[in-house]
Amino acid sequence: MQCAERSRVQAYFDREVDAVAAADIERHTEHCPECRALLADLEQWRTRLRRDLVYEEAPPQLRTRIGAMLERESAVSAAAAAPARLRPWRTRPFWLGAGGGVGAALAASVAWLLLSPMLLRSPQPAAPLLDELVAAHVRSLMPQHLTDVVSTDRHTVKPWFAGHADVSPVVADFAAQGYRLVGGRADYFDQQRAAVVVYEHGAHVINVFTWVARARTYADVTTRNGYHLAFWNVGNLQYCAVSDAGWDELAGLERLLRDLGSRDAQP
């Protein structure tokens, strides 16, 4: 006889339930050995798949081929729209047609803007650094590992770093924007004591690592073992947000922190 909660436990594992349901399921698993075993099993398989299956990348020649193809395409759509644009639309009775042409050209250039960044990537941080960041993130998700200082108050978290890390990152509670400040942690990597500020967005934990940028800085996004990493820098500080939250959520936090960082840097 299978426990009726199995499907909810799976949804919990996949972070598809809200906080109330999550608490409910956590209570349930405490008393249900079957669901506890299921959770452990799901975790084990995820780790295994993400570690052992090869994350194949598109071959460079495919990138080039598609790039050339899209360039041809956008040239064609722009050419198709051009004659309509040349006509003075005020005097033209069928201005709707002209509008359509311009609209098509616009759509084509927007499409180009969206699709081309997928092809033209800037150099990415080296694999060992990504591995370290992801490992630190995963480690932080284990019970009792998330934070060294638990607080939703930036006046508690920020000073704490003074004695525990080599950098002083920007810290703020963005609860109003959906990013709740949970606390801070110090992590040792890249031969220094990096500061980690922990945020929660819905059911997702976002670790924001900050360290002193050395020879090179990174400003890119990438995926490693299924986790998203967004890099940016402010002054000589390198920031990296790691999470299983979506790109948009990560970008939202990056924007908030960037703004705060550049305001902070003003004398």
């Binding site: 499907s7 398989w45 052992d52 299956l53 699709l115």
Partner: protein
């Protein structure tokens, strides 16, 4: 943006060769470019992967019409055990085989509709909503397929190792 890689990975699991995967992705990008209006604020990755999947389905139908060979029903897809039986290394001791190879074979052995939800969830880290968008089934179906995929993977692994899965290193 890593969507090209994701599209390519997805295509690799749908097709049998790298050349087919490349053609599929190229076709999908062309279609994505032309059908850009249909994006409408939905998640770009899910949107693109849905196009990859549709392109593949179309190509499959055309292929089918040309050759008149009926494709096996999805439910009759080779089970993991069959795939493994075909690829057993005659000299290798069961424990000596590479885990990675075995894992890939196990996944190849899943029914296509199970395999895709599993890969989109575990490897591409997509939400149920996004997976539902790609595979064009309701979220409830995504959940049940995911549960079945995970169950099948576990069961076939056990069958193959005749024991519990090895502890995660």
């Amino acid at each position: 943006m890593p969507h090209l890689d994701a599209a390519y990975r997805f295509a690799r699991w749908l097709t049998s060769s790298t050349a087919d995967a490349e053609d599929l992705v190229q076709e999908a990008f062309l279609r994505a470019f032309r059908a850009f209006d249909s994006l409408r604020g939905s998640d770009a990755k899910a949107w693109l992967l849905a196009i990859v999947r549709n392109c593949h389905a179309t190509a499959l139908r055309q292929e089918q019409r040309r050759t008149f060979v009926p494709l096996p029903d999805e439910q009759e897809a080779r089970s993991g055990a069959d795939v493994l039986a075909l690829s057993v290394d005659p000299d290798g001791a069961p424990g000596g085989r590479d885990d990675r190879l075995t894992l890939e074979q196990l996944i190849a052995g899943l029914a296509p509709e199970h395999r895709e939800v599993l890969l989109l969830r575990e490897m591409e880290d997509m939400s149920y909503r996004e997976i539902a968008d790609v595979t064009q089934v309701p979220i409830g179906t995504v959940m049940s397929r995911l549960a079945r995929a995970r169950f099948a993977l576990r069961a076939q692994w056990r069958e193959q190792t005749k024991g519990v899965p090895r502890a995660v290193r």
